[in-house]
């Protein structure tokens, strides 16, 4: 029963990782951009929620109403003003610039909020749990996180698969020069993709901040987990990303149960094992890692 509980916790944790991963793979899909500051943006959102909660004494989940649009606006602006100028010059400038963002965000947070660890308090839901019988129980908040993750993934799946903007995303991803000939303003579309990515990662960051404590330097780990979930699931597959997140989450909780220091490390090792055995991930829709 204790093991079943561990696996269940891991599955639910995996939902959160999938949320981190989705934003990362969205912008890679649309414009072949790897955002090394992805995790730091989530932590920035969590700190913004800390400020919102402190200012208006609201529930951190409610704070998302302000924080997610704010992060989306930031994403649109950064894409428009900085990142879009770097596309078409190879991947090196974009990688270096987003790494610069990562360092700027971390040190900015350190200056503004000190190195103290923080946590967001949603008022009780984080400790309440649902008994499943047989001594098994899951936290309401973990369930909520997983449900939000699945809902957001489903919504994104619909958006990309069915809507005009989703078709434009895919067309731009295939061939942005021809997409422009179809009347698609690719620069605006890139901005929208980044805005969507940062809005999703803001949700992930606030849920993370309720689930666990965080500091100015919690970002890079989130980037790595997101990246690993994407690669395990296979690039370009949204539901693969969810499975990738779940595999990573289970690996971490099981590893941590074996030995306290081995949680994150086990996750990394499972990721490397998948990479060596199935380089294109478990659910890749016919694309390779480098495509």
């Amino acid at each position: 029963m204790a093991w079943l509980d561990t696996v269940l916790q891991g599955v639910l944790l995996g939902g959160l990782y999938a949320l981190f991963a989705t934003g990362l793979s969205l912008i890679f899909g649309v414009m072949r951009l790897v955002n090394l500051a992805h995790g730091d943006f989530s932590i920035l959102a969590a700190f913004l929620a800390v400020v919102a909660v402190g200012t208006w004494s609201i529930n951190p989940l409610l704070a998302l109403v302000v924080v997610a649009p704010l992060m989306a606006a930031l994403g649109y602006a950064l894409q428009w003003l900085v990142l879009d100028r770097l596309l078409g010059r190879g991947m090196l400038p974009a990688v270096l610039v987003t790494f610069g963002f990562s360092v700027i965000i971390q040190n900015g947070l350190l200056e503004l909020f000190s190195a103290d660890s923080r946590r967001l308090n949603p008022g009780g839901i984080e400790t309440a749990s649902l008994a499943l019988g047989g001594g098994l129980a899951v936290g309401w908040f973990s369930l909520l996180t997983f449900a939000v993750a699945v809902l957001l993934l489903a919504a994104l799946h619909l958006l990309i698969g069915r809507s005009a903007i989703g078709r434009a995303f895919r067309a731009t991803s295939d061939d942005d020069a021809t997409a422009a000939l179809m009347g698609i303003d690719t620069r605006r579309l890139h901005g929208l993709a980044m805005a969507l990515s940062l809005a999703i990662v803001a949700v992930a960051g606030v849920f993370l901040g309720i689930r666990t404590t965080f500091t100015f330097s919690s970002g890079p780990d989130r980037l790595l987990f997101a990246f690993e979930a994407v690669i395990i699931g296979g690039l370009g597959s949204l539901w693969g990303t969810l499975v990738g997140g779940v595999i990573l989450g289970v690996a971490q909780t099981v590893g941590a149960k074996l030995s306290p220091g081995w949680g994150v490390l086990t996750g990394h090792l499972v990721f490397l094992a998948v990479l060596l055995l199935r380089p294109s991930g478990l659910f890749a829709p016919s694309r390779r890692v480098d495509s």
């Binding site: 040190n107 980037l223 480098d290």
Partner: protein, 330 residues
């Protein structure tokens, strides 16, 4: 038709050579001043310079944008301690051996990270560096999270240790610059620059892209591991969080990008600027890193060839003439 001559030397390279001689004389003179603080600083500066040269070789010349070179700083540092303290190797001799350890571990690592292309290579190398950090932090023999202290140097007199470290650092610094320079001028170096310009074209001309990139990755791991050992020979105290810190890569990346990516002079200029900044902004804590980050972003947007690129474009100066130039006589 008149005969063409191929030359590499420039007037700047000759002046540069004279400056280098003067700098070497100064470096030899430093120990006689007995200023231990200055010597330590020069060791630190050299270490960052070598890290920057190695990262520049990887990213600027081979297009391998690694964000995980801290793996080899850590491996080198820990290898020094294991070799010197546990296996009884002379600590100064252990420094180059630590570089070999790093290069040896780099081979299987390359087989993993080379599966990623482009931007995902950067994240992949970062993840692998974290694996190294966590493995070390979970190993009892390496002192787990608290780390270890280099004890093998305790029997030495302090002056002997400081002078030895200083001499070793200067030798490594000069050797690294010389090695990168001669590597780039060699047949393999030409192949590398051909790959940077066009991978398919160079492949069709018989350049083995995979082997060339692998060679650069191993050379960079050796140089970075060696430097990691030098850093901890200077600091004596090692811990996984510090030795495998992403900051090593952040510093070198900023040095190279601000100084000039893909040039030999850029990392030199960048390292000097980095140290000058650090001295001036020492009291401003994190603002220092924010400023460097902003400068790197602006550099990538406005002057992607870095400060040295601006200098070279404005005055046409090349201190290290890696390129060959074709001239008509007269």
């Amino acid at each position: 038709m008149s005969a063409l001559t191929v030359e590499r030397a420039t007037w700047a390279s000759r002046i540069g050579f004279a400056c280098a001689l003067a700098a070497m004389a100064a470096l030899v003179a430093v120990p006689f001043t007995g200023n231990a603080g200055l010597m330590r600083m020069i060791v630190e500066l050299t270490a960052l310079l070598v890290l920057a040269q190695m990262w520049n070789l990887l990213a600027g010349y081979a297009g391998l944008v690694s964000i995980g070179q801290q793996a080899y700083v850590g491996v080198g540092g820990y290898a020094l301690i294991v070799l010197a303290d546990d296996l009884g190797v002379n600590p100064f001799l252990a420094v180059p051996l630590a570089g070999l350890v790093a290069a040896t571990l780099a081979l299987p690592t390359a087989l993993v990270v080379f599966r990623f292309r482009g931007g995902y290579f950067a994240v992949g190398t970062w993840a692998v560096a974290e694996v190294y950090r966590l493995l070390v932090a979970n190993t009892d023999a390496l002192g787990r999270g608290t780390g270890r202290t280099l004890k093998a140097v305790f029997p030495l007199a302090r002056e002997t240790r400081e002078l030895g470290t200083y001499a070793l650092a200067v030798a490594i610094g000069l050797a690294a610059i010389g090695a990168v320079y001669f590597y780039l001028r060699s047949r393999q170096g030409l192949g590398l620059m051909a790959i940077r310009d066009s991978e398919p074209a160079s492949e069709s001309l018989g350049v083995d892209v995979f082997r060339t990139k692998l060679a650069v990755y191993l050379i960079a791991a050796f140089g970075t591991g060696l430097t990691g050992a030098l850093i901890y020979l200077n600091l004596l105290r090692i811990s996984p969080d510090a030795a495998f810190s992403i900051n090593w890569t952040a510093y070198t990346l900023f040095i190279v990008v601000i100084g000039g990516l893909g040039t030999l002079e850029g990392p030199l200029l960048g390292t000097l600027l980095f140290f000058a900044f650090r001295e001036v902004l020492a009291d401003y804590g994190a603002w220092y890193m924010i400023l460097l980050g902003l400068l790197a972003v602006i550099a990538m947007l406005r002057f992607p060839q870095g400060l040295w690129g601006l200098v070279a474009a404005r005055w046409g100066i090349h201190v290290f003439p890696v390129r060959r130039r074709v001239r008509r006589p007269g």
